[in-house]
């Protein structure tokens, strides 16, 4: 009897690949009593044929989802401690969890946690991801999950570090577009960036806005309010000058300007920067 009920529950779950709530199971299996159904679900859960998940529509309830054949194989032979670690990682979602936090939550010893993680990684159940916030800290998350933006740093981070060149290319492209279009809106710029296909990852509006903001901070463009209520951008009317009288002499850009004293070790009379500057003039002369 129980075997038959298990198969019926599994069939209903497979019919709903997105997951099925307990109430749906009850309505689809009206002849099965609550106790039988509970026994069957527990049996399926312990044999890894069924997964219990939080209902995305209503986080206070849960849903059941049939495991794929591969999943079942992957979970086969895992101990309760392995599952404890797995569930801990699963709960962390795409933010991931650090081994030290894992140790505290599962109450397991560090070597044990390390061993379990190795086993789970071999079975392709979890993966480790380096956080851009803390380069030395490795966090674990489910294998199939895409790491969160906070963790990877978004499209601006390459495999190892921040991709300054990519940012510079995007800035340059955006700037030339604004220059050619006059006063484009944010939506125009986002559309243009998407069309160019400059980024392998799809850039969202807020990503492009960050690039635009850097251009604004550089003093190259400025934001203007238009009648349509949309944000528009144009080239800065008052550009920052390339040079000033102060910075066209060596003192203006001297790294030891604050340490320069007449008669001291670093002094205007013995300054090598002045020497080079005047020698440059001699060459011109």
């Amino acid at each position: 009897m129980s075997r038959k009920v298990e198969e019926m529950v599994l069939a209903v779950c497979r019919k709903h690949p997105e997951g099925v709530a307990d109430t749906v199971l009850e309505s689809e299996l009206p002849d099965v009593s609550v106790n039988d159904r509970a026994l069957a679900i527990n049996s399926l859960l312990s044999s890894m044929k069924l997964q219990i998940l939080v209902n995305p529509a209503d986080p206070s309830s849960h849903i059941y989802k049939a495991s794929t054949t591969g999943d079942t194989a992957r979970f086969k032979g895992l101990t309760a401690e392995d599952m404890l670690v797995y569930q801990c990682i699963q709960a962390a979602g795409n933010i991931g969890i650090w081994t030290r936090d894992m140790k505290q939550r599962t109450n397991l010893q560090q070597p044990k946690v390390t061993k379990i993680l190795k086993a789970l990684e071999e079975r392709l159940l979890v993966k480790s991801v380096k956080s851009v916030q803390n380069a030395s800290r490795k966090v674990y998350m489910l294998y199939e999950l895409e790491p969160a933006k906070e963790l990877t740093g978004g499209p601006w981070f390459g495999p190892d570090a921040f991709d300054s060149e990519f940012v510079a290319v995007l800035q340059e492209t955006t700037l030339s577009y604004i220059k050619s279009k006059g006063q484009p809106s944010l939506a125009d710029i986002v559309r243009f960036i998407k069309e160019t296909g400059i980024s392998k990852q799809a850039l969202q509006e807020d990503d492009v806005e960050r690039i635009i903001n850097t251009l604004e901070y550089d003093g190259k463009i400025e934001q203007i309010e238009e009648d349509d209520g949309d944000r528009h951008y144009r080239m800065m009317l008052m550009r920052i000058p390339e040079s000033t009288p102060l910075t066209s002499i060596p003192c203006g850009v001297c790294p030891v300007f604050s340490e320069c004293v007449e008669g001291g070790k670093i002094s205007p009379a013995t300054c090598t920067y002045y020497q080079d500057w005047l020698e440059q003039m001699e060459l011109d002369f």
Partner: protein, 589 residues
């Protein structure tokens, strides 16, 4: 003896150690080491009496007196007559106080620009008048006229030299336009102490017959004396203002006689112009006589009274005010277009007659009609925007809010312009260029980011500026060290433990501008020091060039060296003048 409020209105950098160092170098170069020593003593010890100066300067009284008179003659030291309150035994003692006029000394760098400005506006004869007045510091009209005519005759010949009438007319224009002012009498009371608004205490009205009431009356009397000078500051003598007829020199100042008929002897020095400025090593003992007469309380004190000799000097403040107007108008033109720049220039020109100093916070209430008429008078129809009313209305609606509408009057719509807002906009641009040149493009990105977003943590800065954390840290600390950024700690616990403390960064525009101003004076001092070093290095060559009796073939043999020295000298001097252009924008307007 200068404008009573000049020191109070200066920016802190113009009174700082780097400005003082530059001023010392300039005085030393222009008037010699003894004068430099006196100025140093006045800078170090502040306003003091002659007795204190004798004690502090370490100079023999004769040398000190000569140096002091030389400095007074060139308006680099102000004199005030301090009158102590009367006692029961009779009137209180009175003594003269000396104060260094740092702002006037620093203007030495700007002299070529002043002369260029005068040449553009008033022509070559006025340049000659200004040049000689600058060279001698203060002169009576007759002395100035004689000196100019003598120089013109020497350079151009007797026939080609301008007549006295022409020069009198030119001089009149210079006074009317406030480029030249009367020298303040040396019996003016010291300027009133400027108390910070936060430090002011509310005082109850003094009781009749009390000490406080006497003090109040004394202060009022002193203010009235200062006001009296302000009233006659640009007042022409009767003969000069009356249209300037023949024999202006004799008519203007009866004491002055033609140069050929001057008395020789004790009184002669009083009538001759003071010695010209130059590289003097000896302290200028020889200048004592003329300066003594020029600075004597009797002569200068009589400056207010008609018929008495009046001393004139160049009013640097007027030049700076015009330079300020140029900066304001060009900034507006750059941002809002040519008509806006012209309209603003019209407002500034209309405001000129109500201004007493270049550092004014706002204009008086001015109408569109005022601006239009003054522009028409100055430039004709060419420089007047077609729809000035509309241009000014649009400017008043701008988000910068530098033009405040004040209703309508007989001349049309009226406005008040807030000058510091526009000036800071121009300074801000320069400052950002300095930051970019000094700390790279990411430096200016971080600075502007902090200015726009307020206080941020290091991580936030790196994130919003889209640069690596390492670079952000490097730039932030470099800018902190140079004084362009501030760092504030916000502790979460009372123990201020770093691990439980937020560290936030911030950019402050005023602090940044003050930093650039201070750096400008420091860089100018360094540049001057390098220039002196280069000339000292080639002293033998300099001496050779200055010696008029050296054979041509000797100079020819060293032609390359001479050209190189000239090129180095020119480059350093040109850079110094360029730097002064920026100093003017940051510190003097």
């Amino acid at each position: 003896m200068a404008e009573p409020s000049a020191a109070a209105t200066q920016v802190p950098a113009a009174r700082g150690p780097f400005a003082a160092r530059l001023a010392l170098k300039l005085v030393g170069e222009a008037l010699g080491s003894k004068c430099e020593q006196v100025v140093k003593c006045l800078i170090d010890h502040g306003v003091q009496q002659y007795g204190d100066l004798v004690r502090h300067s370490g100079l023999p009284p004769g040398q000190l007196r000569a140096a002091l008179l030389m400095l007074v003659q060139h308006n680099y030291v102000n004199c005030y007559l301090k009158q102590e309150p009367p006692t029961l035994r009779g009137p209180g003692p009175e003594y003269t106080l000396y104060e260094v006029a740092l702002s006037r000394i620093l203007q030495i760098l700007r002299v070529p620009r002043f002369l260029t400005h005068i040449a553009d506006e008033h022509g070559q004869d006025s340049v000659r008048l200004m040049y000689l007045l600058l060279e001698h510091g203060r002169l009576r009209w007759g002395q100035l006229l004689d000196a100019v005519m003598a120089e013109a005759a020497e350079e151009e010949g007797e026939e080609a030299a301008p007549s006295a009438d022409v020069l009198a007319n030119k001089f009149r224009s210079l006074v009317i336009e406030r480029y030249v002012e009367r020298v303040p009498p040396c019996n003016l009371p010291p300027p009133a102490q400027q108390v910070h608004p936060n430090a002011r205490k509310k005082k109850a009205a003094p009781k009749p017959g009390s000490e406080e009431e006497a003090d109040m009356h004394r202060e009022q009397a002193e203010a009235a004396q200062r006001q009296l000078y302000q009233e006659v500051r640009f007042q022409l003598l009767d003969d000069l203002s009356g249209g300037g007829g023949s024999g202006a020199a004799a008519a203007v100042d009866k004491q002055d006689k033609p140069a050929s008929k001057r008395k020789r002897g004790r009184d002669a020095a009083a009538e001759e112009p003071a010695k010209k400025k130059g590289r003097k090593k000896g302290g200028g003992d020889d200048a004592g006589g003329a300066a003594a007469a020029a600075a004597s309380p009797r002569a200068a004190g009589a400056a207010q009274g008609e018929g008495e000799p009046v001393l004139w000097r160049v009013n640097f403040d007027e030049f700076n005010r015009r330079f300020r107007n140029e900066v304001v108008a060009s900034t507006i033109k750059l941002r809002y277009g040519i008509p806006a720049g012209q309209a603003v220039m019209g407002l500034l020109m209309a405001n000129a007659r109500f201004e007493h100093a270049s550092r004014t916070s706002e204009t008086v209430v001015l109408s569109v009609g005022d601006a239009r008429s003054v522009l028409m008078r100055a430039h004709g129809h060419e420089e007047v925007p077609e729809d000035m009313q509309q241009v000014l209305r649009e400017l008043s609606e701008d988000e910068l809010k530098f033009l405040d509408p004040r209703g309508s009057g007989p001349g049309g719509e009226q406005y008040v312009m807030h000058l510091p807002l526009v000036l800071n906009m121009a300074r801000l641009l320069d400052m950002q260029a300095v930051i970019r040149n000094k700390f790279g493009p990411h430096g200016v990105r971080i600075w502007r980011l902090l200015l726009i977003n307020g206080q941020l943590e290091q991580k936030q800065v790196a994130d919003l500026a889209m640069i690596t954390k390492e670079e952000a840290r490097e730039k932030l600390y470099a800018m902190l060290k140079s004084g362009y950024l501030g760092l504030q700690d916000v502790p979460r616990t009372a123990d201020h433990a770093p691990s439980r403390t937020f560290y936030t960064w911030r950019a402050n525009m005023d602090a940044g501008i003050a930093r650039v101003a201070s750096d400008l004076y420091r860089a100018a001092g360094n540049l001057h020091a390098r220039l002196t070093h280069e000339l000292t290095k080639q002293q033998e060559l300099v001496d050779l060039l200055e010696d008029g009796h050296v054979a041509g073939h000797v100079l020819e043999r060293r032609r390359d060296e001479i050209q190189m020295l000239r090129a180095v000298n020119t480059r350093l001097e040109a850079s110094l003048m360029d730097l002064d252009f920026q100093i003017c924008k940051f510190c003097d307007v």
